[in-house]
Symmetry: C2
Subunit: 201 residues, 2 copies
């Protein structure tokens, strides 16, 4: 019997997937979590064979959970399941030691199959997405450029970003300008969109 941890913040999705996976004769959902913190706690106490992790959760990223699990439960295979097939997400997932990466667009039948395959030691990755990740290249933004762009993305003004990051306004403008240049865009809004689409911020 495959013991499985399911971390997903949308209640309806989580419930539906849990029900569906429990229908499989060789799979048992031993823990459900709606937040990153819950996922870590549940993993520690139930020690599942496979962890099915969503990326977007209210209190943190499933990618961070994956990285923690690699250290704390090295035998537990991690399968990332996400809405957005962003190249940067896939890259981060691989760096965090994930064994598989699925997008929620695909058919449900993929899911149980993927669980069995990662447990067998296989890597499960959408080929089209892998190609996109390779072609997009690594994240070109430096730490500070990311910070500045992330802050700017929600409309925060240069002055406020400077305060939040303990920087001068000139520096913030320089970082934003660099980010705009590296993303090949015309302003901070386009830069933020592009960076998000690639999973860079």
């Amino acid at each position: 019997m495959i013991r499985l941890l399911l971390a997903e913040d949308q209640g309806m999705m989580r419930g539906a997937l849990a029900l569906l996976l429990n229908l499989e004769p060789d799979i048992e959902v031993v823990a459900e979590a709606g937040t990153a913190a819950e996922a870590l706690r549940a993993a520690a106490s139930t020690r599942p064979d496979v962890a099915l992790l969503d990326i977007e959760m209210p209190d943190g990223s499933g990618l961070d959970v994956a990285a923690r699990l690699r250290d704390e439960l090295p035998d537990c295979r991690v399968l990332i399941v996400t809405t957005f097939g962003r190249p940067g997400y896939l890259r981060q997932a691989m760096e965090a030691g994930a064994a598989g990466f699925l997008v929620k667009d695909g058919p449900v039948e993929q899911l149980a199959a993927a669980v069995r395959r990662v447990l067998a030691g296989e890597r499960v990755i959408d080929p089209a997405l892998a190609a996109a990740a390779l072609s997009a290249g690594p994240n070109p933004l430096t730490d500070r450029e990311r910070d500045a762009l992330t802050a700017a993305a929600d409309g925060t003004t240069v002055a406020d970003i400077a305060v939040r990051l303990h920087l001068s306004e000139s520096t913030v403008r320089n970082y934003l300008s660099a980010a705009i240049g590296k993303t090949g865009t015309r302003n901070r809004i386009e830069a933020a969109h592009r960076a998000r689409a690639n999973g860079w911020i």
Copy 2:
């Protein structure tokens, strides 16, 4: 037997929900759709009792589908299911004649229950969301303000918006300024965020 149409663009979610609803003894999913166009076609050919519609679909809004269904299949109850509990969405859904409005955060058990309740003639709406919709008030933006803000949201520059909307740059700036004023924000980015959060654009 309740004949049900399921329209939802995420394959995994759609598959899981279809499976789950088919487990109910009195519900049968007679059609599945991944786009707005498919939903309309399927509804016309299968004439379901209840239509379960997602809002965000690649080729159009489930709210538009709801409005069309009201004219073409007046006997079909519409139940909107969406990720985002935005006040404006709820308002639009009610105006489009929907019988119910669910957010995907809730437990799955809600779903089958809601289907039965709308079929019984009841209205199904999350109370907290209804309160938010009332307190947020109606969409304060005029058509053109919405157009300008929508275009500005993805980083398009004033000059380009003017071209796309066949307006002068001054006019576009005036609309954006009005939108910023009405949303009580400091710039177009914040205005776009606020408008999106309220379901105004």
